[in-house]
Symmetry: C2
Subunit: 387 residues, 2 copies
C-alpha cells in the first residue's frame, strides 16, 4: 500500500547518510570511548565530530553540548537540574502548551513544594512577551518554554522570553525539539541557558537527545555514576547513535532552505486544499509564526481519532495531539489552552510534512481527508452550513 | 595491527545477527510505536519481541521488563525510584564494591538524609550473607548489590541476599550488568525485586539498558513525560537499539554454555600463563565464584596504567578499574575494599575475554603482559624475589 507519511513531528525516517556514518560504529569501531587503550579512545573522535555538528546546528560551542538518551531525558535533566542547583528558589514559569515531559516534571516539582505559573497563550497559540515578563519573580528557579509547538507548529519568541529572564538573572530552558532542524536556531548571542533537541525529529536515530547547556549555567546532573559528558550525564555513550545524530544535524542545517521553501509551499497547499474542500474547517494556530512543515486543522462534527483511523487505512499517516500522550481520551491540552472552540477541539488533526513529501502526497492526503470527514459526517447525519 | 580485545567487560562488539535484526528499524520501519496509525503501531511488535527475548535471558515475564538508555540509567531509576516511593524510610544497604553509578546514587541519597550501610566484602571479594542480613533494618528502603563485579568478576550470592531482604519486606535491587549473558540468571522464583542489565555488555548495541521490575514492586519513575514503558520510563523508544538488544539477549542465552566451557578454559589458561611467568603476581578475587570471562591480576612494582599503555601499543586491550572511573588517579575502590595489599593494588589489570577470543589471542596477550611488566621493572630497577 502507498504510504503517505505526514507525521514527521512524531518521528522521521533515519537519513541514509546518517546510517552510513553510523555503520563503522556498529561494526569494527566498537570500543568504549572511556577506555584508556587506543582501540577504545579512537572511538571518542566520532563523538567529538558529532558534538561539533550539533553545536553548528544550534550556533553554540561544542563544549556546551551533551548527549542524552532522548529529548525527554534532556528536558527532565534541565528542569530538575536547575531546581536542584538552587533549592532555595521555589517558583517555575512555563506555558500551558508544553510537551508532556515538561508538564510532568513541573507537576513533579510542584508536588515537592514548587509553585508553577503557567502564562496563558493567545488564541493563535503565541506567547506575549510582556505577560511572560510579568510572571517572573525573584524566587523563580527556572522559566521554560518551547521554541515551536509539537501539535500546532506555532513558534514562541523564545529569544525574547530568554532575554526577559536574563534581566532578572533567571535561567531560561527551551524545549527546541520541534524547532531544531526546521527553522534556523542560533543561540550564541542569546540569553537561552539551555535547549533540548531530539535526533529522531530531524532525520537522526531514535534514542538520542542532546542538551545545550550554556557555559556557566548551574544545573545538577540527573543520571549519576560516571565522568561521561563532562559529568553532566553518566553512562556509556550511544556512540553509533550520537554519530548518526551529528550527521543528521549537518544535513538538517544544509537542507534548512528546503524546509523554508519546498516544504512550506507543500504545507500551504495541503492546508488550502483541505480548508477549501471541508466545510466548517479551520486552522489552529498562527498562520505565519509556525514551523514550515506543520498544519493543525480542525473539523467540526467528527472525531479526530476516527479521521485518523480512516486515513491510516488509506496509508495516510497523521496524528491527533502528540504521540507521547496517545492512549489518552482527553482532548489536546494545547488546543484547550488556545481556547479552540468545543466544536473543533475533538476533530483536529496534525499534518507534519517532511523533506521528502511530494505534491502527489499532499494532493492524495487532502482528497482522503475530505473523503474521511464527509463519510463520518454522513454516518453522524451532521453537516455544517456551507459558507 | 593485530588487535587482541580483552576488554569485554568495558564493552563488546555488536553481534552481526543483532545488527541484522536492527536493520529494518534503521530503514523502512521508522514509525513511532506510540502513533495511532498502522504505520507507527506495527513498529511496536519489534519492541514486544525484544521484551520477550530479554525476559527469557533473565527468566522473568516480559511485562516485567522496561527498556532504558543505559545500564547506568536503569540503576539510577531503581535506587531513586525505591527511595521516592517510600520516603519515610531513610536507610540503604549496599556493598563497597558496587559500580560508580550505584555508589554515586547512594551518595546522592545520603546527602539528602539517607543513612548508607556498606557491608564489607571478604579478601576474595565475596559477600557474607549473614553479615548482609545483619545490616538490614526496619527503615531500610532498598538494599542493593551486584550479581557479578565488573573489575574482578566475583559473583555475589544475590539470590540469598535477596531472600534475606524479602524476609524483612525490603526491596532488593541487583546490578546484573556483568552477569547477564555470562552466567545463567533466572529470577522467576527468587526474591530479587529488580535487576539492571546493559545491552552492550553482551553483544547488543550501546545506548540500551533494561530493568526488570518485579510485579508489584513500588518504584517511582526517574524520567517523566510519556506513557511509554508502562509509565516507568518516558521518551520515544530507541526502537532499533531495543530490537538489537533482544536479538543479542537471545544469542547470549544460546551461547551461555560456550562461556562456561571455552571462554572459561581460555581465561584459566591466560591466568596460569601470566601468573607463572610474572614473579610476585597474584589473582584478585575468588578463584571459582567468578564469571567465566574475567581475570583480575596484580603485579607488584609496576603501575597498571603503564602496563595498559604498553599493551595498547601491542594491540592488546585491557583495563584498570572500570571504564566509568577512568581519568581517576585513585586506585580501584573494589581492590581497596578487598584489602588487596598496597604492593599490588596499583599494578592490577583486568582481562575480560569474549566469545570470539582464541587461544592465540590468549598466548599472545600473556607473552606481551610478561614483556611489559619485565620492561617496566627494569626501568624502575625493581624485581621481586623468585619463589
Amino acid at each position: 500500500m502507498r504510504v503517505v507519511y505526514l507525521d514527521n513531528n512524531a518521528t522521521t525516517r533515519l537519513r541514509p547518510e546518517a546510517l552510513e556514518a553510523m555503520r563503522p560504529y556498529l561494526g569494527e569501531l566498537y570500543g568504549n570511548p572511556s577506555s584508556l587503550h587506543a582501540f577504545g579512545s579512537q572511538v571518542g573522535r566520532g563523538l567529538d565530530t558529532a558534538r561539533e555538528q550539533v553545536a553548528a546546528l544550534l550556533g553554540v560551542r561544542s563544549q556546551e553540548v551533551i548527549f542524552t538518551g532522548s529529548g525527554t531525558e534532556a528536558n527532565n535533566t534541565a528542569l530538575r537540574g536547575y531546581a536542584e542547583a538552587a533549592p532555595e528558589k521555589r517558583h517555575i514559569v512555563t506555558s500551558p502548551v508544553e510537551h508532556p515531559c515538561i508538564q510532568e516534571v513541573c507537576a513533579y516539582l510542584k508536588a515537592r513544594g514548587c509553585e508553577v505559573t503557567e502564562v496563558p497563550v493567545a488564541r493563535d497559540g503565541t506567547m506575549d512577551v510582556a505577560a511572560w515578563k510579568a510572571a517572573l519573580r525573584p524566587d523563580t528557579v527556572v522559566a521554560t518554554a518551547m521554541a515551536a509547538n509539537n501539535e500546532t507548529g506555532v513558534i514562541f519568541q523564545y529569544v525574547e522570553l530568554a532575554a526577559a529572564c536574563a534581566e532578572r538573572g533567571i535561567p531560561f530552558h527551551c524545549d527546541g525539539v520541534q524547532a531544531a532542524g526546521k527553522i534556523p536556531v542560533s543561540l550564541k548571542d542569546t540569553a537561552v541557558s539551555s535547549m533540548t533537541i531530539a535526533a529522531h525529529k530531524f532525520g537522526g536515530p531514535k534514542g538520542v537527545g542532546a542538551l545545550f547547556v550554556k557555559r556557566g549555567a548551574r544545573m545538577k546532573p540527573l543520571i549519576l555514576g560516571g565522568h561521561q559528558e563532562k559529568g553532566r550525564r553518566a553512562g556509556t555513550e550511544n556512540v553509533a547513535g550520537i554519530v548518526g545524530t551529528g550527521a543528521a544535524a549537518e544535513l538538517a542545517l544544509r537542507d534548512m532552505p528546503v524546509e523554508a521553501t519546498k516544504v512550506k509551499a507543500l504545507r500551504d497547499r495541503l492546508e488550502s486544499l483541505v480548508l477549501d474542500r471541508i466545510p466548517g474547517s479551520l486552522r489552529n494556530g498562527h498562520r505565519d509564526l509556525r514551523v514550515p512543515n506543520t498544519a493543525n486543522l480542525g473539523f467540526p462534527f467528527v472525531e479526530g481519532e476516527a479521521v485518523l483511523l480512516i486515513l491510516s487505512q488509506f496509508g495516510v499517516c497523521v496524528s491527533i495531539g502528540s504521540a507521547c500522550s496517545s492512549g489518552s481520551t482527553e482532548p489536546s491540552h494545547v488546543l484547550r489552552a488556545m481556547k479552540v472552540p468545543e466544536s473543533h477541539i475533538f476533530g483536529s488533526i496534525r499534518f507534519s510534512l517532511g523533506l521528502d513529501t511530494t505534491q502527489e502526497d499532499v494532493d492524495y492526503a487532502a482528497a482522503k481527508v475530505a473523503e474521511a470527514v464527509e463519510r463520518l459526517r454522513k454516518v453522524a447525519g451532521k453537516e455544517p452550513a456551507r459558507k
